[in-house]
Subunit: 453 residues, 2 copies
Amino acid sequence: MNEPAGPRHRVVIVGGGFGGMLATQGLRKAPCNVTVIDRRNFHLFQPLLYQVATGALSPANIASPLRSIFRKQKNTKVVLGEVESLDLPNKSLLLKDGAVIPFDTLILATGSTHTYFGHDEWAVFAPGLKTIEDATEIRRRVLSAFERAERETNPTEKHRLMTFVIVGGGPTGVEMAGSISELARQTLRFDFRNIDPRTARIVLIEGQTRVLSMFHESLSAKAKACLEKMGVEVRLDCHVVEVGPDHVVVKADSGQAEAARIETQTIVWAAGVKASGLGKRLAEAIGGIETDRAGRVTVNNDCTVNGRSDIFVIGDLAKFTGADGKQLPGLAPVAMQQGTYVAGLIMRQLKGDTSAHEPFRYWDKGSMATIGRAKAVAETGGLRLSGAIAWLAWLFIHIMYLARFENRVLVLFQWISNYLTRGRAARLITGEMAHKPEDPNRSVPRGETVVKH
Amino acid sequence: MNEPAGPRHRVVIVGGGFGGMLATQGLRKAPCNVTVIDRRNFHLFQPLLYQVATGALSPANIASPLRSIFRKQKNTKVVLGEVESLDLPNKSLLLKDGAVIPFDTLILATGSTHTYFGHDEWAVFAPGLKTIEDATEIRRRVLSAFERAERETNPTEKHRLMTFVIVGGGPTGVEMAGSISELARQTLRFDFRNIDPRTARIVLIEGQTRVLSMFHESLSAKAKACLEKMGVEVRLDCHVVEVGPDHVVVKADSGQAEAARIETQTIVWAAGVKASGLGKRLAEAIGGIETDRAGRVTVNNDCTVNGRSDIFVIGDLAKFTGADGKQLPGLAPVAMQQGTYVAGLIMRQLKGDTSAHEPFRYWDKGSMATIGRAKAVAETGGLRLSGAIAWLAWLFIHIMYLARFENRVLVLFQWISNYLTRGRAARLITGEMAHKPEDPNRSVPRGETVVKH
């Protein structure tokens, strides 16, 4: 309705995450028609998803409706839909609902999801943390486990219900382990009558020899010490070799140690990331384009794919190798900077500027991860911070990057409230009744087992 | 763990709604063991559920974990479970998960749900509004209808997608109609490119000759005028005779008018309430106890059931006839006052006071209903208010009655923000992808129809 007439250049952006959102915003004043396609009607601030999963925040606090973000951007329309296939000869996308979306320039920014390294059958027992639904499902499982433990009379079963295993010692895994520990030791401390939630066992499993391996070794060591002080059992250098309805089996990578079985009701998967399937389909459609083992598309130094100056791939979907030969990590700041860069490039092209352009350069402002209340690690340039000061920096930056003013206030208020009361108000069990006897986690009979740990 | 030893009197309260919560709190200092049983782990502030259904608030803002409410109440434990059957000879309850809960005194406060007057097959097309899941499902449907209209090219179908029918002109129906109108005319106004959400058709259907029939006629008339000014089509004195995947058929009660078919994608059921099924099971178990057509249990003037001084029924589950011969309405204040009254009665009994007790008397502080931004009606005693002053009174009272301080601040801030920006931040489509072709609302083929309105 607000679409100007005439054949304007059409930029189609698939994905409303950090990359797609910044690319769209960068084209705010561009003389082109922008179409943003997403499966969901909101942009999700994934770095805080673990706080939804542990009842500290509500889903809407970290989600912003895409139409709301772009409502004043008159050259932009939002399409709720999922790409079914790419028709490159006709320069168009086919959506699952049958709609055809033609483009002159295409930006793919569909991100990544978690992977079970060939064991997709583990997904039902060990959900990952990528969507709002994942987060509310994990919240349901964690809270329901305590509820069932409260009613359980068998001590072995009670112990199993109160054991929480987090697979993956990256930022998400560390944040989940720390949050579950705080939930158990502080928030729920006085909530039950038959169990002491402080006795919950929380196990964090990491394949490498340290947690938060993208950080300096000294910070990894600090994070590990911090987690252990909070009662988290950190198991390094070992892999999960089996996941079942009531247990995981963990095998140490070095040494002759036998595999150890951990009886648990609740497993959170925070290991392994694979790119959205659209990358592979793009590579197939173009031909001669590489995707790596994680399904990421190799891109040129201006984020285009080989031979197609009209197709950009950014964010977690892209495999970008810097001038130093290092691959960029799958982080929100990379996606955001690539989105802004690509928008700038398109602006130049639209203005007829055909002079050589600068390659994309990632400005690494640093990394940070929270472990718990007033506990975090951060590094920027040569500076390494930990403890309360890193935590405050973390708070400040995460509040700042939330997409809407209202959410900033809501999140800040809830964090202050959670800090003062050690509470987590959003600990609702929703979606499925907690007491349902047909709990899928229990329907599989448990066999004889040797518990080693 | 915190349970005192020895045979203390056991009070079991089924239901953590307004009645059950107030009864439990009233027994805070009673020398007895209190057990609260609920299917959900939270108390829900149902009067604001329509704000979740229209994206103004998040579920957690109007839900408070029961364990959190009663955490400091040492004589009280919370059991997450659902009552399967009553074993009155043994004075115990059997839960669905097999647990047996013995009681000395029983308080049933399981409330009510919506009813389709014998047409349960309508439920799938016209969800009611009683639970968090109902609210997020209605939110999904309303927002998805706009999304699909944006993509639809057929004008008839577009019109059908942008038609919203609310069945029932009580407070919930009026609030839903007003909220959907504001969502369409204000919040979403600039969000779309192919549709003008302000042209959405909103129809409110009421069987009686006026909306909000529990109010004075002058306020009903004001509410109706208000709704019509907001673009809501109010149809009085007519009933829904058919509900399908893509339409409702409405028949006027008086006159010879033919039934009219309204093509619509989104129907909200706000008519008819029936008591929880536990009432009937209680009546059967005791024998000689009446339940009315809505399944409510007839209670004595002290909320006990005939012949059982140890069993109380309160709130929406009870049919209480006052000294004036009038039945009490199914409202939160009635349930709350009955909960407090029953707790007081039990306290007296525990102290050995066997003197005659006063019957329960409902103190009617008045009623209020919101229509929209700065629009409400309220009456208390002989005083009748409407417009901004009634709305402010409504705001104040609802904030005051929210169970937790944190939620009061969060709701107040969001209301201020919504008021200033006309926004609704929590308008997330969650639970099911909006674009799914297998939308159940569309899978049934539509027949030939004559549209009359």
